[in-house]
């Protein structure tokens, strides 16, 4: 019984951990720890947005990193034109990624199964090569953000801790927003279409409209992640949106446990921290990381969240 309480408290424990990290980090390599954990939280946002369509909508998008990149370029391009207001950048990042999601999603969702995976991959690659060829904004080399981001004329994000808590608040906000959405009338239809689209049609729902709306919401939220990533790294580059990155986002969601939201946070944390730790031990860290993922796929169905749930004695 105590185990199951711990399992239910898992999301809270995660957020408490992220909230107190800065206080603990000051006793260690503060700058390094904070930047690592900020990266975890940003990818947690991206992974949660993917979980909305992958875990709750059964849409295996293999081009999700495109939204991360588009959000980041929303910041980078405006900054290079001396638009340093972060609110304007946020609006641009969200609007651009939502628009890209609407246009590509409207086409992708006409297909199913493996074709959906292929076409989302293709659109992701199109976005990647678009920015690679965009010489004005650095092309392949990317774009370093030299200007200071501001809010109403005042510099922001200069203090790492401020940036940390902005990212933390964004992650918490995204979690609560998505939690509400998946439980709502809308989310119930989305979940229903995941289980049995034919039945949903037979009672009068057009799954396409709901899936497209979810796709746009996911794209917009991932754009927020891109906005934060640009500010955290003070750099944007097409490397943010490679297809490998899209694959990593899927791995984070599946590793943490699909369709639970906090699983995506856990998955992002496990992925990034493990990558970091293993890379310090050996240059060939992927030789260890690969088999680890295979083991998780084989023995921890439902990901880390599913594994913890079983430890806690609940199904």
């Amino acid at each position: 019984m105590r185990g199951s309480v711990a399992v239910r408290a898992l999301p809270y424990l995660l957020f408490v951990f992220f909230a107190i990290t800065p206080a603990l980090a000051q006793f260690g390599a503060e700058g390094y720890i904070l930047s690592l954990v900020m990266r975890v939280m940003i990818f947690a946002i991206a992974a949660m947005s993917l979980d909305l369509i992958l875990g709750y909508g059964a849409m295996v998008s293999f081009g999700h990193a495109a939204f991360l990149g588009i959000g980041a370029y929303g910041v980078g391009i405006l900054m290079s034109h001396a638009v340093t207001n972060v609110l304007a950048q946020l609006v641009a990042a969200v609007a651009a990624s939502a628009l890209f999601a609407l246009v590509t999603g409207a086409l992708c969702l006409r297909t199913k199964g493996v074709y959906f995976i292929m076409i989302t991959l293709a659109f992701g690659q199109m976005a990647f090569f678009f920015f690679v060829s965009l010489g004005v904004y650095g092309g392949d080399d990317g774009l370093t953000l030299r200007a200071t981001p501001t809010l109403f004329g005042t510099p922001v994000f200069e203090n790492t801790r401020v940036l940390y808590y902005v990212i933390f608040a964004a992650m918490l906000g995204v979690y609560l927003l998505l939690r509400a959405i998946v439980a709502s009338r809308f989310g119930r239809v989305l979940r229903g279409a995941r289980e049995n689209p034919v039945r949903m049609q037979a009672i009068g729902f057009d799954p396409y409209r709901f899936q497209l709306a979810a796709y746009v919401i996911a794209g917009a939220i991932c754009g927020v992640g891109g906005f934060l990533l640009a500010h955290q790294t003070e750099f944007v580059s097409p490397a943010f949106m490679t297809w490998q990155r899209s694959g990593e986002l899927i791995v984070m969601v599946v590793l943490g446990g699909m369709g639970s939201l906090h699983g995506a946070i856990l998955g992002a944390a496990a992925f990034i921290i493990l990558e970091e730790v293993l890379a310090r031990i050996t240059e060939d860290w992927k030789l260890i990381f690969g088999p680890f993922l295979v083991l998780v796929a084989l023995f921890a169905r439902g990901g880390l969240v599913g594994f913890l749930r079983r430890l806690g004695g609940r199904r």
Partner: protein, 248 residues
């Protein structure tokens, strides 16, 4: 009684195989019209075409005079075409109540609401419970649908169809795979629904068909070979030869 559903000169082929061969039939308001026929006669494909899962090659499907043959399934559902499937089609991960509440939600207000917990919406739940009660499942409302017995799942699917407030019910072998006791319960439920809805029933169980139907049509190799009152169809020599032969 006025005609509610009318199918005119419907054709459908899969390659060289004619699964629907110039089928014309109708269902009047409140009538229970049963379609029988040997396996592979095209009965399920016929229902698929009426509900919109399969597009006919030619012909018309008129609901209250309006041709619905080209509309997508969800449009037909909102116009009052509800169906069950030969292989039960429910949402196994949702509770029995939520399965039905979703059908209520489909016609009650917007589903583009992103906040608020629909499982606490009394109006949806109350109507869902009413429909569960019709099929004697009110006591199983909170059970995950996937954990219900086979017969209960069939009953649940019927409750889902009823909750859409249909004008016509298309039932694809509601007795398939049910035990004697369960099948008696389903027949009793259908008996109670009879007259309140137009029903197109596909069924292999002849006792049930002749007990329930107002009219029976016999489908063989995609074509209607006989149609009429149950007794007349039962006596039809061609039907006896083609289909009921071994039973007489």
């Amino acid at each position: 009684m006025s005609t509610l559903l009318r199918i005119e000169n419907l054709h459908k082929s899969f390659g060289a195989l004619r699964v629907t061969d110039d089928v014309t039939l109708d269902v009047a308001e409140g009538e229970l019209h049963a379609v029988i026929g040997p396996n592979g006669a095209g009965k399920t494909t016929l229902i698929h075409q009426i509900s919109g899962l399969v597009a006919p090659d030619s012909g018309r499907i008129l609901l209250d005079g309006a041709d619905i043959a080209l509309l997508p399934p969800h449009k037909r559902a909102t116009m009052g075409v509800a169906r069950t499937f030969q292989i039960t089609s429910i949402l196994p991960g949702f509770s029995a109540l939520e399965n039905v509440a979703l059908a209520v939600q489909a016609r009650e207000g917007s589903s583009f609401r992103f906040f608020g917990d629909p499982t606490r919406e009394e109006r949806l739940n109350a109507q869902a419970l009413e429909n569960l009660a019709i099929v004697n499942l009110a006591g199983r409302a909170d059970i995950p649908a996937g954990e219900l017995s086979h017969g209960e799942k069939r009953q649940l699917e019927l409750a889902i169809a009823l909750a859409t407030r249909p004008r016509i019910l298309l039932l694809d072998e509601p007795l398939a795979g049910t035990g004697r006791e369960e099948s008696e319960r389903v027949v009793a439920t259908l008996q109670a629904l009879k007259g309140r809805y137009a029903i197109l029933l596909i069924e292999h169980d002849m006792d049930a068909v002749f007990a329930l139907a107002d009219r029976v049509s016999v489908l063989v190799y995609g074509a209607v070979v006989a149609s009429g009152a149950p007794d007349a169809v039962r006596a039809d020599p061609e039907v006896r030869r083609a289909y009921l032969g071994e039973e007489v």
